[in-house]
Amino acid sequence: MEQVKLALRSALPFLIALPVLWGVSEVLRYYEFTSFQYILMMAFIDVILAVSLNVINGFTGQFSIGHAGFMAIGAYTAAKITLAARGLEIIGLPPGISDQVIFLLALLAGMCTASIAGFLVGMPSLRLRGDYLAIVTLGFNEIIRVVIENTSFLGQATGLSGLPRRTTLVWVGMGAMATILMARRLVGSTHGRALLAIREDEVAAEAMGVNTTGYKVRAFVISAAFAGLAGGLLVHLIQLCTPRSFTFVKSIEVVVMVVLGGMGSITGSVIAAFVLRFGVEALREAQQYRMVLYSMLLIVLMLTRPTGLFGTREIWDWLPRLRRNRAEGGAR
C-alpha cells in the first residue's frame, strides 16, 4: 500500500499534466490558434533543451556549447526509426495508438543514442578545465555535423524529409515536464548535491569522496539524453531533419537561455526559454536582428548581471511548503 502511494506520488505531476495539456491543445485546436500552438510547442522544446543543458552548465559548473550535437543524434535516431516504421502497425493495437507507441519508442531510442554520445564526449573531456571543455564540445558539435553531411544513410546536407507529424502539445508538454522533474529531483538528491559540490570546489568535492569524473560523465549522459529527446520532438514537429537545425548557432541559443535565466536555476531556464521563444516570434519581421540581439544580450548580461535573472534561486524557494519538501530531498 505504502509502495502504491509512493509510486502515485512520484507520478502525480504527470497524471495532472496529461489531461491539462490535452485540454489546452483541444481548446487551441477548436479556436484554430494553430500558430500560437506551434510557438508553444517550440517553447516547450526549448524548455527541454535549456533545463537539460543547465544540468551540465548550471549544476555541475562545466561549460558545454555543443548541446545541438546531442540533439542531432537523438533527432536522427528517432527520425530513422519512424521512417523505417512507416506503415508498420503493432499487432493488436488500433493504428492511432500503434503510431504513438512507435513514436515513444523512437524517442526513447533517440535518448539512448544521445546519452551514449554524451558518455563518449564526457569521458575524454573530464580532464579539461572550463574553457577547454567548451571548445571540445563545440568541436564535437561540428564533427557531428560534418559526419552527417557526409553520410548518405542520413541524407547528407539535404537531410531526411517526409517525416510524419507526431509531435503534439501533449508530447512536448510531457517531455518538458519530465525534464523539469528530472532536474528538480536530481538537484534535491544526494547525487545532485555531489554535482553542486563539483561546481563549488572540485578539489574539495574529490577529497570528500565524490568521484568527480564519474559525476561529470553522468551529468553529460543525463543532459545529452534529454537533448536527444528535444531533437526527436523537434524533427517530428517540423517534419524535416537536416544538419542545419543542429549547427552550433543552435547550441549558442540554448546557452543564451541558460545564461539569461541564471546558471543553476531551473525556473530561470524555463522562463528564459519562453521569453526568448515568444520574443523571437514577436520580432518575426526582424529575424535578421535576432542573433545580434542574442549576442548583445549575452554581453550586457555578463557585464551587468552575470548571475542571470534568477542566479541559482528557484521559484519554490519562495513557496514555503515546496521548500521544505525540497530540503527533505522529497522525504517526509
Binding site: L128, Y132, G139, I143, V146, M291, S295, M302
Partner: protein
C-alpha cells in the same frame, strides 16, 4: 611526387595563415588566460576593412604596389584598434570575474561581429556597410601569375603570402623575446599581479597584446583574401576555430608552439583531405584537438601546471 609537393605547398600556405591567427589566440591566452572567441571574427573584420580601403583607394581601377601596402597596413591598424576596443569594453570589466563569464562575453562579441556584419546596410556605396551576408570579391592589387615548376602549381600570391607570413612570425619572435615590451608581456603572462607590483603597466601590456594579435589576424586575412578572393561575414568562424586548435596543439600561451601548431594543422588537413577523406576536411582539426587533449593536454610545448591545494 608532384601531388605530394602540391599538397606540401598548399599545406604550408594554409598552415602559415593558421599560425598567424593562432599567435593572436596564444598571446591573449598567455596574458589573460582567456580564449578570445572573437579572434576569428577580428580576422573577418580585417578582410572587410581591407575591402573598404581597397575600394576607397580605387585598387580595382588602377592597382599599384603603394596602394596594396596602404591597404595592408591600414587594415592592420583598424583591426589592432578593434582588438584594443574589444578588450577595453568587453573583457577588462570582467577581469576579476570567474573565467567563464569572460568566455561567454567573448562568444557574445564573436556573434555580434558575425551577425552585425550581416545586417541590412545603413550606408550606400559600392560596398555598403554593414556588407550583408552575400560574399564579396576582393580586388587584386597586382596581376596573378601562375608558375608550375615540376608540375606544382604556385602563384605569385602564394609566394608573397608565404614570405610575408614567415617574415611576420620572425618579427613577432623578435618582439616577444628581444624587446622590452616582449619581456613585460612574458612577465604578465607568468604572473600578472606580481608583474604589476614590479612596475609594469599591466593594462597597457594587455592592450598592446590585443593590438598585436589582432593586427596579425588582419594580416592573415589580407594574405588569404589576396589569393582566395571571396570574403563574407562568416569567413572567420572556421579559420578561427582551427587556429585555436593549432594554438592548443602547440601548447596554448606558447608563441613558437602556435607557429608549429598552425603549420602542422595546415599540412595535416591538406594531406588527409588530399589522400583520404576529402569531405572530412573540417573534421580533421577537431579530431586533432580531441586527440591532443587526450594524449597531451598541455600541448606540444606546454607544461602542465598543478593546481595548488
Amino acid at each position: 611526387m608532384t601531388e605530394f609537393l602540391q599538397h606540401l605547398v598548399n599545406g604550408l600556405s594554409v598552415g602559415t595563415i593558421y599560425a598567424l591567427i593562432a599567435l593572436g589566440y596564444t598571446m591573449v591566452y598567455g596574458v589573460l588566460k582567456l580564449i578570445n572567441f572573437a579572434h576569428g571574427d577580428v580576422y573577418m573584420v580585417g578582410a572587410f576593412s581591407g575591402l573598404y580601403l581597397a575600394r576607397g583607394l580605387g585598387v580595382d581601377q588602377s592597382p599599384s604596389l603603394f596602394k596594396a601596402l596602404l591597404v595592408f597596413f591600414g587594415s592592420i591598424v583598424v583591426c589592432a584598434a578593434l582588438g584594443v576596443i574589444i578588450e577595453r569594453f568587453a573583457y577588462r570589466p570582467l577581469r576579476h570575474q570567474p573565467r567563464l563569464t569572460a568566455l561567454i562575453t567573448a562568444i557574445g562579441v564573436s556573434f555580434l561581429l558575425e551577425y552585425g556584419f550581416q545586417l541590412p546596410p545603413v550606408t550606400q556605396g559600392s560596398v555598403p556597410f554593414p556588407p550583408g551576408p552575400t560574399p564579396r570579391f576582393f580586388p587584386e592589387p597586382f596581376p596573378r601569375v601562375d608558375y608550375a615548376p615540376f608540375g606544382v602549381h604556385v602563384s605569385n600570391y602564394d609566394m608573397v603570402s608565404l614570405a610575408v607570413a614567415v617574415g611576420l612570425m620572425f618579427l613577432l619572435q623578435f618582439i616577444v623575446y628581444r624587446t622590452k615590451f616582449g619581456t613585460a608581456m612574458r612577465a604578465v603572462s607568468f604572473d600578472s599581479s606580481v608583474a604589476g607590483l614590479m612596475g609594469i603597466n599591466v593594462n597597457r601590456v594587455i592592450s598592446w597584446t590585443f593590438a598585436l594579435g589582432s593586427g596579425l589576424a588582419a594580416a592573415a586575412a589580407l594574405l588569404v583574401a589576396g589569393s582566395r578572393p571571396t570574403i563574407n561575414p562568416l569567413m572567420g568562424l572556421m579559420p578561427g576555430i582551427k587556429a585555436f586548435v593549432a594554438a592548443v596543439f602547440g601548447g596554448i600561451g606558447n608563441v613558437p608552439g602556435a607557429m608549429v601548431g598552425g603549420l602542422v594543422l595546415g599540412l595535416a588537413e591538406e594531406y588527409v583531405a588530399g589522400y583520404a577523406l576529402s569531405s572530412y576536411r573540417d573534421g580533421i582539426a577537431f579530431a586533432m584537438l580531441i586527440l591532443v587533449l587526450l594524449l597531451r593536454p598541455a600541448g606540444l610545448f606546454g607544461r602542465v601546471r598543478a593546481e595548488k591545494v
